[in-house]
Structures are given as C-alpha cells and as structure tokens.
Amino acid sequence: MTATSVQLIKHDNGIHHFVLDRPEARANLMDQQFTNDFAAATELLLASDWRGLVIRSAKDTFFAGGDLTALSQVNDDNAPAFFEMVETLKRCMRRLETAGKPVVAAINGAALGGGWEMCLFAHHRVALNRPHVKMGLPEVTLGLLPGAGGVTRTVRLLGLQTALPLLTEGKQLSPERALKAGLIHELADDQTGLIARAEAWAATHPEVSQPWDEKGYKIPGGTPSQPAVARTLPIVPAMVRAKTHGCLPAPEKILACAVEGAQVDFDTATRIESRYIVELARGQVCKNLINTFWFQLNDIKAGKSRPPQEQSTALGKVAVLGAGMMGAGIAYQCATNGIEVVLKDIDKHTANKGKEHARALLQKRIERGALSEAEAESILARIHATDIPDDLANCELVIEAVFENRELKENVTREAQTHLPDTAIIASNTSTLPITGLARAAEHADRFIGLHFFSPVEKMPLVEIIRGAQTSDATLAQAYDFVQQIRKTPIVVNDSRGFFTSRVFGTFTHEGMAMLAEGIHPALIENAAFLAGFPVGPLAVVDEVSLTLLDKVRRQTQADLRAEGQDYPHHSGEAVLDRMLELNRHGKAAGQGFYQYPAKGQKHLWPELVTHFDVQPEKITLQNAKDRLLYIMALETLRCYQAGVINTVRDANIGSIFGIGFPAWTGGALQFVNQTGLQEFLARAESLAETYGERFTPPEILINAARDNTPFSDSGASDDR
C-alpha cells in the first residue's frame, strides 16, 4: 500500500478511524494530495460497514491547515483547478457529516485554519486540555478566509454576531475557551482519554446529524432578513473599513461571505464560500501577506539573518542604563521573559520611577485578566532599580538607553565597562547615531552593537540590530538570540546614519511636511496616509516624536556631514519644520504642534496651518498623495538595500512594517515594489520625480531589476521554489 495522508483503520465495533498522517512530514497539510487521499478514504469508509468515525492525527499537532505555498500560487490559470479542489474536499466533509452516523474529531494538538475546518464538520469535538492545543481560524491574518467550510459552519454554529469577530480577527482559542464558546464539546486529560472519549461518544450516539441539517433549524441570532440583524448590518462594513483602512480585502470578504451564506441553504452557502476563497487567493494582497508574514517572518524566526556558526546562551542577567520610558520598557520586556534586570539611572529616585512604569504595565495586564498578582510580583522582583554602578557586576549584556547625545552615550559606555565582566556585550539603544563611532568609547569594539528598540517597547514587535564595523559574529549572534529570547523580532542592519528604520521613517515625515509646504490641506495629508494603510499620519507622527527632536537630528547630521566635508541635502519639508519651530509649536509633549491637544476631547489639526502654509483646496489627488508617502519610503528602502545598509529583502519588509508602520497590506517596503510590478513601479517613480522632485529618482538597483525583470528576493529563502 502506498503512503496516504488519510489512513482508514477499521475496528470490529464499526467505529473506524481516519488517521491523519502526511507521509514524510512533521505536520498535516491541506493540499491536492490530501484532498485526493481524503476523498479516497471517504469512499472506502462509506463503502464499508461502519457505525461511526473518529478523526485523529498521528502528528504532534492535529492539522496545520492550508498549504500556503500552493495558496500563494493560485493565479488566473490554475484558479479553476483550485476551486475544484476546494469543492471536492468540502463534498467529502459534507458526505461524512450527512451520512447519519457519528463523526468525532479527537484534537490532540493545534488545529488551526484548515485544521480546525477538519474538526468543524464533525458532530462532536473532543480536545486534549493542554496549552499547546490551539484552535481557530487565523486565515484572515494572511489575507484569506476559511474556505473549507469554516465560514459557513461557524456562522451556523454560533450565529453571525458571535462568528464574525472570530472569523475577521482570526482569534486562537485554548481548549477551555473553545469549550466555553461552544466550539468543542469535551476536554480530555491525556491521549488515551482523548481517543476513549471520542470512541465512547461515537458508540453511544449511533444516529446523529448536524444542528443545521435538522428540521426547523434557525441560525442563532437570526438572518439578515430579520429586523434584529438588519438594523445593525448597514454599519458593519464601515466598522470593518475603520480597521482595515479599506486596504485589506479579507475581512470584508469574510463579512460578505458570512452574510450571503446566512441567507441561503448550507450547500449553496458553502459554494459561495469556495468562490470567495478563490477570489482572495488570486488577489495580490493575500500573496503579499503570505510572502512576508509567513515565509519571510518564519525565516527571521529561524535565524536566517544570524551568523550560523556562532553559539549563544540564553541570558540570565542584563543591565539597562537609563530608566526613562525606553529603558523602563526594555527592563519590563526582559523581566517578563524571565531575565534579571539591573535598571540603573543617575539617582535612585529616577531608577525607581522606571520600575514603577513596569509596575503600571503589569497592573493593566492584571486588570485584563491576563496575569495573576503573584506572577506580576515575581516579574517585578526581577527588576533591580539602582544608582550604584557596582550592581552591573555579573550582567552579561548592558543596554544603554540614555538620551540621544553622543557625548553622554560615550560617557555611559566608559563608566559601565569598568564594572562589567570582561565578556559582557554593550548595546546602545540609539535610533540614529552611527554605532561604529559610539563603539570607540568601548574597550572591546567587537562586543559593541546597536539594539534599536521602538517606543512603546512593550507593544512594538521590532528590534533593529545594528552591526558596527568591528562588531563580531559572536556578538551579533548573541544579540539576535537575546532579541528572540525577549520575544521580539530582530532584523539586522549595517551601520550608517539613521541605520535602516530611522532613515526610511524620516522620508515619511519629511514627505508629509513637504506636502504641507506645497499648500496641500493637512487633513488630506493625514487622510491619505490613513487610506494608504499607515497606522498614523506623518504630521501626527512628527508631533509624537516632537519637532524639537527632528531639529536636533538635523543639526547633528549637519554637523557630522560638515565634519566629513560633505554637503547637507536640504529637503523641502524643512521649511515647515522651521516655521513651526518659529511659531513655538514643538509637538505633542509641548502641548501644541501640527495638532491642538485640548484638555477635553480629541486632538485636532491646528486650524491656522491653513493660513500659515497658504493651503489651497484640491492641490493634489488623493492617489498622488498616497503614492508620495508609499513610494518615498520604498525608494529609500531600495537605496538602503543598494548601499548594503540592509542585506535581506525579508529584513527590509518586516522592519518597515513592524518598526515604522509601512502598510501591512503591501507585504513591506520591498514587496510593495514587487507587487506593484517592477516596470510599473519604475515608471511611477519617474513620473513622481518629474512632478515632485529628485528625491523620487529611481536608484540603480531598481532600474536594473526592472530591466532584468527580477523581483527582489533573498537567496536561500524558504519560499524559494
């Protein structure tokens, strides 16, 4: 017998098993081979003398879900075949579900996406009560919808109102929460109990059908034709768009699929669902998301940007110098991940304030029910607030997080290293100052590195690791592993002014200010950013970081460039910066910037911007405004890639989204170039350069890529096929 991914095992009592066991693989996967095997096994079962069916997995997980490689390759040519595969799979599920005999899913491990859909058609679901057993439909996070019955069955099981958040947010549930939500029926304590319970239920329920196949069944909460649902429905698409900015099609399609399916019979609903999954899989956004958030992020997690030969150890004790917002956030992040932290500042009071910040963050988690008081206390106990330099002894890593001032940072480094063990790594949390220069203050420049955290640390997933000219492979490897140890996502960049993220981020803020300098309405600038998918507009973000900081960075850059005998390239946005500083509007912290911050109510744009910058209506189309923001960042990323500031496409993509808010729908700043089409991107950049200035001039690397028609990708990436 050839290997099959669905093995039918017959038992004398007629309660047969489907054993899901993809040959030569760690996990079960929903692909064409699985579909064929599932169909064959279904035929065999239905032809046999059976009384019930238990579906179980031979892997650690129950079922991993759809084959993302295949899904990301659905195109206009193979779409009909993909539709056929989905329909075949679902026909099998439907035949088993309507055969009148009990089908039980024995869920031993994670059952996500397609894996959970393999459970949903069962009449009864038993799950192993272990933390690694997660259930849910995360398809939406990769731009897809649960197309193997997930939308149709969840709506019929829970009703539209309860099903939609699960479907559109892709939440994953623990066994206990799934039980409470009515998604599973029983918990088991161990593998033996799991199978025993599944078999027992099948044996004691010889004649069963799904609720939705019973006479008189009504969808819980009603259908769209009923006033209770009809009253609330008109605003739901607007609510979805408020979250997606109109840029992500999957949540909208899920909503449409759920509502349309609720108005027809099951078999029609499931066909509508198949049409929607094909539509999404064909679309570009789904490919962008799978590329970056699946393949590339997995490569980063697997350490593809880390020097492969170097060993490292999990760190037990680190020091953070500077207990401001940033330092306190880093200390919190380390402590919550089991690391002892010395949080040092110049006086005990300031250091304690940093610890209080961590306490406040923990308090919020306690209030949300995400943490117990005892857990919070043990985390806090790991943070040692101090002003005594000797407390740095035994720290394996010290992260300096003092103000962005070269002299101060250098002094702090000099002082710290006299108290540190000789093997310790010194990291600077600088966002702009070149690491190689800062390393001069260190005795061991090979053990000096940049760890650029983003604010607020506890929320922002990225850490930009900056490798100085003398940073060793061993130091880089240790830093990389440390970032993962505290559950952040590392990208690796080479040393240069502004590194990667600050440099690209600067083009976004300055483009926003340049538009205002041209008399474009500030609301349009901010709305264009929102509608392009950015989390926040450039003017709002300048207020957040403060105009004062932008000015300081500019002065530092000017001074450094002068020292190097280079010219400072002026940006048309700087006129706005200067004028705003003249007007004493320094940003949010100062209480006024591009926005007004009333004591009561929401912030709003300062009305006088319109007069100070001679704002005229309809100076630019929305599309041009959106493109200026997207293209200027993508072009700067290309320049960084060309100059070797950033070495991999995955780091550029993930870094741009996780660090500086480049819209997720694009798949990142370089994937945005790929997804637009190289020639199209080049032509558009050229036209933007003609209209809006030389900063849009395409770099060589883009011209070459467009000429050769070779999209930007990494060699040895896991999606190389």
């Binding site: 006033p227 009809a230 008109p234 605003i235 449409a256 609301a523 709305n527 509608l531 209506p617």
Partner: protein, 403 residues
C-alpha cells in the same frame, strides 16, 4: 404638437407623528389613500372614474401594509371602477414628485389624458428601511458603493460649507414658525382633507409635529443624531471620499432634520382634452421635470443640479422662479441648495417644510407640489420649482407655471 400636462387639483391628509404615539398610527395606509381618492372624486365629480388612465403613487417602503401595489389596491378599495390601473414606484424621497413627473410625462405622451399622481407613507406602521435592500444590507455592495446614512451626508454638507449649529437651528425654527403662520392664515385649507374613521369622526385635521414655540434655545438643547454612528465607522466612509475633511461636525438633530410622519397626497392631472371633456379647470402646467445623480456618499447634493437641469429645459433661470419648495430633509440640504442656486431664503418654503410638518417619504413630493401651487395662487405669482434630495445621490426637480 405635444399636449401640455395640467394640474387640476391637489389635496393631502394632515401629517401625523410617525410613531405608535402618533395620531395616524391607528389608520391603515390604505385608508389614507381611499379617503383621498374619494375626496378627489367628490371635489371633481364630473369625471367618471373609468376615465382615469392610471394612478401613479410614490411609496418608498412598499412592504407589509404598503406592499403589493397599494395604488391599484386603493383604487379598488375606494370603489373606483375596475378598469382604473394603478402603480406604485420607489425613487426614495423623490417618489411623490416622481409620481407627479411621470403623470405629466404620460399626459405629454398623448397616450393618456387623465392621471392621478401622489403618494403615501405610513412611517409609524411600516418603518423606514424595513424593505431591506442590497445598498445597506449586502456587505459587498455597501462597502463598494461607500454606503452611509443620509444624516451623515447632511452633517458632511454642513461641515464642507461651514454651517454652524446655530444657522441650522435658526432655519429649523423658521420652518416651524412659517408652518404655524401658514396654518393660521389658512394656507393649507384648500388642500387638507381631514382623516376620518368609519363613523366620519375626525381623527386628525392638522399637521401634528409643528411647534409654534420652537426657539433657538429649545432646538439648541437637542443632541446630535448621527455622532455615535459616525464615530462607529461612517465618518471614515465620508473621509475616504472627502479627504480634505479632518472630522465631520455632527450638527443635525431631530430638531433640524425632517420629521418622521404618516400621510398621503394626491393630484389630479391631465390634458386639455380631459379638461374640456370633464369640465376640469387647469390650475398649472408642468413646464419641466428633471433627474440627476450625484455622489451617493454625501447623497444629498442633488437638488441644485436637478433644479438647474429643469430650469434649462423650461428655458428659465433661477431668478425667474417666484417660489421654491426645497424639501427640508435636513437644514443643511436647503441652505446648500439656496447657496448654489443663489436664491434668497425668502423665496423658499414660505409656508414651512418637512422640518416642521414632516416628510412622509412616498408622499412628500406630491404634497410640496400642491403647497407650492396653492401659494402661487394666493400670491398671484407665476413660476414655482419643487426639488428634493434623493437616496443614492439623486436629485429631482419640477417646474410648474400657473395658467
């Protein structure tokens, strides 16, 4: 030569508050219509009902009590002869005026000579929106077309034009004061047919929602109607289409928006042939009808372009028009239209409007036509123009001239 379309008579019911507490809640929409049909025939009794070619009625929410072609049903219920046809139409808020326009077009075609036009809406019994529809309820259509409730559009109009809450409230206050004065001087006497029960007891003889004592204080105390739903998501829909707007100022309240009411209206229209044959006196001629479509998201900017289109057809300018009826769906709609057409407010809605008396969706256009004609006669003026904003971004206008 194209025959002219004349208006012979126009009548309406009083408007009752469109809630269970409203006086007309107990009256079936079919009863509103049968009483009006009987009154229309009684007042113009020389024509045999079998000479009526068609009854064209606006009815927006044509389900339940108002479902299944209530125009034909009403003709039967009113005892009109079997060979009278009837049709209901839905052009959202313009349905009543669309019925008038369609009747005019039927007459001008030369193929029909005597047509009843009008409309009915019992908003207390058949709530607005209860007919469903893909625009609001189909998520794919809703999202693709930028669906947004009219109220947000009205607030967006106010935001774009910079209207203040006080300006809107002032307009609303005047609507109430004008309506109260109009009733007092008998401006509606000719048109009003009181609603009665089977015993001929009067159930309602006057419009029910007018507040003669409306003041800026009383109106200013009301809370904005659309702020919450705007914040939940619809403001974002508006900003996506109007990106130079940072935030929508939610200024419309129940006080400066049209009232939800019950009511019906009918006009008797026809050709010179019918007039001569049945001794009917032409009071006005329909000079032009026009429809336009504008941005469906802001939705309520159709009146000015529709008016301009109708004026061009009639060979007139805005200044030639003596009196306007611009439906008071929301205060900002009328103010914007007045600005766009450069018409002084003194010429507009001189006897009040839907803010004071209510907007029974399917009937309003027909009511406005009758009101305008009565007032042109009272003032001995020549030209009048009726226009309404319409769902889906449409606009409608009709120019009438006294004869």
């Amino acid at each position: 030569m194209t025959p002219d379309a004349y208006i012979f008579d126009a009548l309406r019911t009083p408007r009752g508050r469109g809630k269970a507490s409203g006086t007309l809640y107990e009256v079936k929409p079919i009863s509103l219509l049968t009483q009006l049909l009987q009154a229309l025939h009684a007042r113009n009794g020389q024509f045999p009902t079998d000479q009526v070619d068609d009854i064209v009625l606006g009815c927006v929410t044509a389900v339940g009590d108002q479902g299944a072609d209530i125009a034909k049903t009403a003709a039967l219920a009113a005892g009109w002869q079997d060979n009278v046809a009837g049709v209901t139409l839905n052009r959202f808020c313009a349905s009543g005026l669309e019925a008038v326009n369609m009747a005019a077009q039927k007459v001008r075609s030369g193929w029909e000579h005597l047509v009843v036009a009008g409309g009915v809406e019992s908003m207390s019994r058949v709530p607005m929106g209860s007919d469903g529809g893909a625009w609001a309820l189909d998520p794919a259509t809703n999202a693709n077309t930028g669906f947004m409730p009219q109220g947000i559009g009205a607030d967006l109009i106010a935001t774009l034009a910079g209207f203040s809450r006080a300006e809107l409230d002032e307009f609303a206050m005047h609507s109430h004061h004008k309506a109260a004065k109009a009733w007092a001087k008998g401006a509606f006497d000719r048109a009003i047919v009181p609603v009665r029960d089977a015993n001929q007891f009067v159930i309602l003889a006057q419009d029910e929602t007018i507040r003669p004592d409306a003041s800026l204080d009383s109106l200013g105390a009301l809370k904005p109607s659309f702020a919450d739903m705007g914040a939940m998501g619809f403001d974002g829909v508006a900003r996506a289409k109007y990106p130079e707007v940072e935030r929508i100022h939610h200024l419309h309240t129940p006080g400066n928006s049209s009232g939800i009411v019950d009511g019906a209206a009918l006009l008797l229209m026809g050709s010179q042939t019918a007039a001569s044959q049945w001794g009917l006196k032409p009071r006005a001629v329909v000079r032009a009808t026009a429809l336009v479509g504008t941005d469906p998201t802001i939705m309520l900017t159709g009146p000015a372009p529709a008016a301009r289109k109708a004026l061009a057809i009639a060979g007139l300018t805005a200044a030639d028009i003596d009196l306007y009826e611009i439906n008071e769906a929301f205060a900002s709609v009328v103010l914007r239209c007045a600005h766009e057409l450069k018409v002084p407010l003194e010429k507009i809605n001189v006897n009040g409007g839907a803010i004071a008396m209510g907007h029974p969706l399917g009937a309003t256009g027909a009511m406005l036509t009758g009101t305008l004609l009565d007032e042109l006669e009272a003032r001995d003026k020549q030209f009048g123009l009726i226009t309404l904003c319409v769902g889906g971004g449409m606009g409608i206008a009709t120019v009438i001239e006294r004869v």
